[in-house]
């Protein structure tokens, strides 16, 4: 499996990253070295094997669905580069 430049541009777009032409060439080459390495997993016979999405194959504890944390609105908004009153400021999204 190899990733071509067009696919990489789509991937970068999905990942919200920008690549110029030179970077596209470099990243393409480097990602394809990795995809060559991971290709071998496809050869393993796993027809009877369920995916293991989590290392703890047993019940995990759930807490009650109640609010336990105080609101730290001011502290959290203070972390934003641009905020006004109770809102984060972003570029215009609706025409």
């Amino acid at each position: 499996m190899s990733i071509n430049r067009k696919e990489l541009t789509e991937i970068a777009n999905l990942a919200k990253l920008d690549l110029n032409a030179e970077q596209t060439q470099q990243v393409c080459q480097s990602l394809n070295q990795i995809t060559d390495m991971v290709e071998r997993i496809k050869k393993a016979d796993t027809a009877q094997v369920d995916p293991m999405f989590h290392p703890c194959d047993f019940w995990m504890p759930l807490r009650k669905d109640v609010v336990t944390e105080a609101t730290h609105k001011e502290q959290l908004l203070a972390l934003a580069k641009q905020a006004d009153a109770d809102f984060y400021l972003v570029p215009k999204v609706i025409e």
Binding site: I11, A15, L17, I34, T35, P61, P91
Partner: protein, 479 residues
């Protein structure tokens, strides 16, 4: 002073021969003196925190007054927590990670924050926005990664203890390359709340220190169920009890001859064999075991970890917190892209794109799900092995600390994790302890235990350290 065990430091503190402030100052002075040489720390405190010293005075814990350094991915309230990324270079969390809070409650006194590979992605600590960390044993070499700053800091005795995290080997490999002891407990033992996420089904907090006994004391204080982390297990925490004698009579130790054969460096091979001989000389029985699917572990890991990273790092949008581009932006997507491009380093971007690819339509089942199936096969391999043995003893790294800049491509760096990744995929407790150095550079032996059983690997390492002194050796330049 700087080579005393935590128990010895505790005796000095409880007998009032030294105060927590005086002890903290000894190490803080060392941080200021040696960090410019090592770059092990991103942040060194100007002064010890008064609140830490107050808690140290009141705490009854054996850890009261013991200094420590946190890896810079543990959120520390009011103290910058960057994960060694430009993205978070100015981020000051309004809360503490659970691990940080527990160790503070025990009375440990923070000295600063340790350098690391950006977002814990790396095996050499060369991928940090704040520059590479130098190995105290040879400044031209890497300390390993991603917890390279924590490992270098303990090795040079800038601190007696450091917190660290391990996703695919990030505690064990730097511990081995810096000649210290480091443990990653079972997945779910220590809370991940407030630990900046890389790959959530693999990340686990752990400890680095000089000895297994020191690691046991700190791990006991930091682990345990946390309601704020839904993957933290409810199992009873254990109390660490250091073994008083070195006998390993009756201990069945699994070894994988093929892994030792794969060591191309004959000196490391000899050192590993000598360590196994020491276990046998103390009564342990070596039993050959096999992990037939382990050769697929690195490939599976480099699908799974980037996939989880691509999802976890999607939160960094440059709007709510973290780096925001100052460039003019056409629209909100342009702002996301510019902020993320400027905020993330090359390796982080590479892994985000690799993970995005693995999760994208058309490849999800062939790669992501297939890697999860491989993960189950490896986990079953371990179950089979642990039906025959109590612990496993295997190499940590195929090489000693390598020169900075030596591994220029991702794949050769990734292969360096070949012996550490299998236990990570299975979520097992595992650690590295120092064995006979090679050509003046440290080497580690990896001990892996069955799920939940950290004590068996810690006590085996502690017994080994009763009859060896490799863990007490330190680089002369930092004496």
């Amino acid at each position: 002073m700087i080579n005393l065990s935590l128990r010895e430091l505790n005796q000095l503190l409880t007998s009032k021969q030294i105060s927590p402030a005086e002890l903290g100052s000894v190490y803080l002075d060392r941080c200021r003196q040696f960090n410019p040489t090592l770059n092990a720390l991103i942040h060194v405190q100007n002064d010890l925190a008064a609140a830490d010293l107050l808690t140290a005075d009141r705490s009854q814990s054996i850890l009261a007054g013991i200094p420590l350094i946190h890896k810079d991915l543990f959120s520390t309230k009011g103290v910058t927590t960057s994960a060694a990324s430009r993205m978070l270079a100015d981020y000051v969390p309004p809360f503490d990670a659970t691990v940080v809070g527990r160790l503070r409650d025990a009375g440990m006194v923070s000295l600063g924050k340790a350098n690391m590979d950006e977002f814990a992605m790396g095996s050499s600590n060369e991928y940090s926005y704040f520059g590479a960390v130098n190995n105290p044993w040879d400044l031209s070499r890497v300390p390993g990664g991603s917890s390279g700053g924590s490992a270098a800091a303990v090795a040079a005795r800038l601190t007696p203890v450091a917190t660290a995290s391990d996703t695919g080997g990030s505690i064990r490999q730097p511990a081995a390359m810096c000649g210290i002891t480091g443990i990653k407990p079972s997945y779910g033992r220590a809370s991940r709340y407030g630990m900046i996420a890389f790959a959530s089904s693999l990340d686990q907090a752990g400890v680095m220190a000089v000895s297994a006994d020191d690691c046991g004391l700190v791990l006991e204080a930091m682990m345990g169920h946390d309601d704020k982390d839904s993957t933290s297990i409810l199992a009873e925490p254990w109390r660490w009890q250091a073994p008083q004698e070195a006998s390993m009579q009756g201990l069945k130790v699994g070894v994988i001859p093929d892994w030792i054969e794969q060591l191309k460096d004959n000196d490391i091979k000899r050192s590993t064999q000598q360590a196994l001989d020491t276990l046998v000389s103390k009564g342990a029985e070596l039993i050959e075991v096999d992990l037939p699917h382990a050769d697929l572990a690195v490939a599976a890991y480099y699908i799974l970890a980037p996939a989880e990273a691509s999802a976890n790092l999607a939160r960094f949008d440059g709007i709510r917190y973290g780096h925001q581009s100052a460039e003019p932006c056409d629209d909100i997507n342009d702002m996301y892209r510019k902020s993320r491009n400027e905020g993330f380093g090359q390796e982080v971007q590479r892994r985000i794109m690799l993970g995005t690819w693995a999760l994208s339509s058309g490849y999800y089942d062939d790669y992501y799900c297939q890697a999860q199936r491989i993960r189950r096969l490896i986990s079953e391999d371990f179950k089979q092995a642990f039906s025959k043995v109590d612990i496993m003893a295997v190499p940590v790294s195929p090489e000693v600390a390598f020169k900075q800049g030596e591994k220029s491509d991702g794949v050769s760096m990734y292969q360096a994790d070949q012996f550490t990744i299998p236990a990570s995929l299975a979520g097992l407790p595992c650690m590295s302890m120092p064995i006979q150095p090679v050509r003046g550079l440290p080497v580690g032996l990896q001990l892996i235990g069955p799920y939940f059983n950290e004590q068996v690997i810690l006590s085996t390492a502690a017994r080994f350290q009763l009859v060896t002194d490799y863990h007490l050796q330190m680089p002369e330049a930092f004496l």
